[in-house]
């Protein structure tokens, strides 16, 4: 198992955002994390990446208990995190944004090359010198993605990466993730059910901070509890 969560919980002043979540993520898998708004998805990945301190529970990454490591040390061990609300360095160039991500493990010309390659993969190579804040919203999402993949993480956590992308960009995103999955384990929060069904090997459904169901896309699709709590009858109804 690359990542294990045991009994992870987070309370915010009486609100149980995440309660007793167990999660096992084997190396090489694409796992989707779905659930209605407020189900605790972003909080859960925040606990895993160390952005938020848990109220209870443990996180084991690559065989080591990282519960007490600060976020930057977890990232250094091979996690990468992309933000739900786009969080790029708005006043720095696109190339510098990716460069900062690349230089944590690479130096000089190698870092520059890796940054160029990552921008190329997400289709932003032409905008390398643009200030990141001047990019269209969808392009900022792609920049987030480039900042994630340039780190060559063992675990890539993506929080709603396709939000704001055009149809064409979403198709490109799918290809990219399939390609990445050969070398990286991916934990994906996603609202677009078509993407989830197409990409994920397994799906974990959160509701009210708890794991409601877990299984293959077909199993989740057929799960009555999930249907009742979330899908509302057909997968398409939950999209967006």
């Amino acid at each position: 198992m690359l990542l294990q969560a045991r009994g992870l919980a987070k309370r915010f002043e009486g609100l149980h955002a995440v309660q007793g979540v167990d999660l096992d993520l084997p190396e090489g898998e694409i796992r989707a994390l779905i659930g209605p708004n407020g189900a605790g998805k972003t909080t859960l990945v925040g606990l895993i990446a160390g952005r938020i301190a848990p109220s209870a529970g443990r996180v084991i990454f690559d065989g080591r208990d990282v519960t007490h490591l600060p976020a930057h040390r977890r990232i250094a061990r091979g996690m990468a995190y992309t933000f739900q609300i786009t969080s790029v360095f708005a006043r720095l160039s696109v190339a510098e944004n990716v460069g900062l991500a690349a230089r944590r493990h690479l130096k000089g010309a190698k870092a520059r090359q890796a940054a160029e390659d990552a921008l190329d993969r997400v289709g932003l190579a032409a905008q390398a010198d643009t200030e990141a804040g001047d990019l269209a919203y969808g392009h900022q999402r792609l920049l987030e993605l480039a900042m994630g993949i340039v780190q060559r993480p063992r675990l890539l956590i993506l929080d709603e990466p396709t939000q704001g992308l055009s149809e064409g960009e979403i198709a490109g995103f799918e290809t990219l993730i399939r390609d990445l999955a050969r070398t990286t384990t991916i934990l994906l929060i996603e609202h677009n059910m078509r993407i989830v069904m197409a990409l994920a090997q397994r799906i974990t459904v959160l509701d009210g901070g708890r794991v409601l169901a877990e299984g293959t896309p077909d199993e989740i699709h057929a799960n009555a509890a999930v249907q009742a709590a979330y899908l509302g009858g057909s997968p398409d109804a939950a999209a967006g």
């Binding site: 952005r51 930057h72 990232i75 360095f89 708005a90 720095l92 900062l100 230089r103 944590r104």
Partner: protein
């Protein structure tokens, strides 16, 4: 090279001015170069790392008193005394960084301000050692380094230029290293920098020690070059001045602190020729600059003419 050229050009200009300036401006410029070195130190923390300190007088004074007291009480020469001043600045800034970096934003401003006030009061309290609010004049022997007399106007100018050149080169080098660029990333978006795997505390700590030590080097040099050590240099005015210099010259530009210091120095100098209400003129000029060039002089040049200016 294209980036280094204007900085080398400024140093060459300052060296050539040494031979042509009339005595009055020659003396002023020596003072400006030392104060600009102070401002460059300030700029590392404020301009590049995004931490607004209101306590840099503490570091300036740590350098000045570290050097001055070594001359006064230990009979050291200027060379070792300068080293003592710089070391004092490093120790004081590291200590304050450990305490103040637990806070951020307004709290950081208040904590640095309070510690600097405590420093100024400490100097007044131990007046038998420090000379209290009168300070003390350095003896001639403490202003000699390697047979050079730093109280001589020509030597003093060149010594100030050496300090300035060192601080300028260090700043220019630092902000272009991967480390310096992480500082900028922390300034722009600390949480994002952390989630790229960079330790914000370690980087801010290092930035504050570099910043404080550079300010201390300026303070130590100021004391030795101009021969006087006084508690007024530890007061809040000397925490505000580098902030003003940097804001006027251009936050987060390597040349900005010098431009801002020069501008402010001559603004006050020229307006006090005209009227005793010279601070009024200075104030109006500052308001004007803030309105029409909010990024400072070099910041405006960077925005309009040269995007890649470090």
């Amino acid at each position: 090279m294209r980036v280094v050229a204007p900085h080398l050009g400024l140093l060459a200009l300052l060296l050539s001015l040494h031979f042509v300036l009339p005595a009055y401006h020659h003396g002023n410029l020596a003072r400006v170069m030392v104060l600009a070195s102070f401002a460059m130190g300030y700029n590392i923390l404020f301009g590049y790392t995004g931490l607004l300190s209101l306590g840099h007088a503490l570091f300036f004074a740590a350098g000045m008193y570290g050097a001055g007291l070594a001359v006064q009480h230990l009979g050291w020469g200027a060379g070792p005394s300068l080293v003592a001043g710089i070391a004092a600045g490093a120790v004081v800034s590291a200590t304050l960084a450990l305490l103040a970096l637990r806070t951020s934003g307004v709290a950081f401003m208040i904590v640095t301000l309070m510690f600097a006030q405590a420093g100024a009061l400490t100097i007044l309290h131990f007046s038998e050692i420090t000379g209290g609010d009168e300070g003390f004049v350095l003896p001639q022997a403490g202003r000699m380094v390697a047979g050079l007399d730093l109280s001589d106007a020509n030597t003093r100018y060149l010594a100030a230029l050496v300090l300035f050149a060192v601080c300028l080169s260090l700043s220019l080098w630092l902000v272009r290293t991967p480390f310096g660029r992480v500082l900028v990333a922390i300034r722009e978006n600390e949480e994002r920098a952390r989630m790229l795997g960079y330790d914000p505390f370690a980087h801010k700590f290092a930035a504050m020690v570099i910043s404080g030590t550079m300010a201390a080097a300026a303070g130590a040099t100021y004391g030795v070059l101009f021969g006087y050590v006084g508690s007024s240099f530890a007061e809040v005015q000397y925490s505000i001045l580098p902030l003003l210099y940097v804001l006027l010259g251009g936050t987060g530009t390597v040349l900005g602190p010098f431009v801002g210091t020069l501008f402010m120095f001559y603004l006050i100098d020229l307006s006090s020729d005209i009227t005793t209400a010279h601070m009024l003129i200075a104030g109006v000029a500052l308001v004007g600059l803030t309105l029409f060039a909010p990024q400072g002089i070099m910041g405006e040049i960077r925005r309009r003419l040269w995007k890649g200016l470090p």
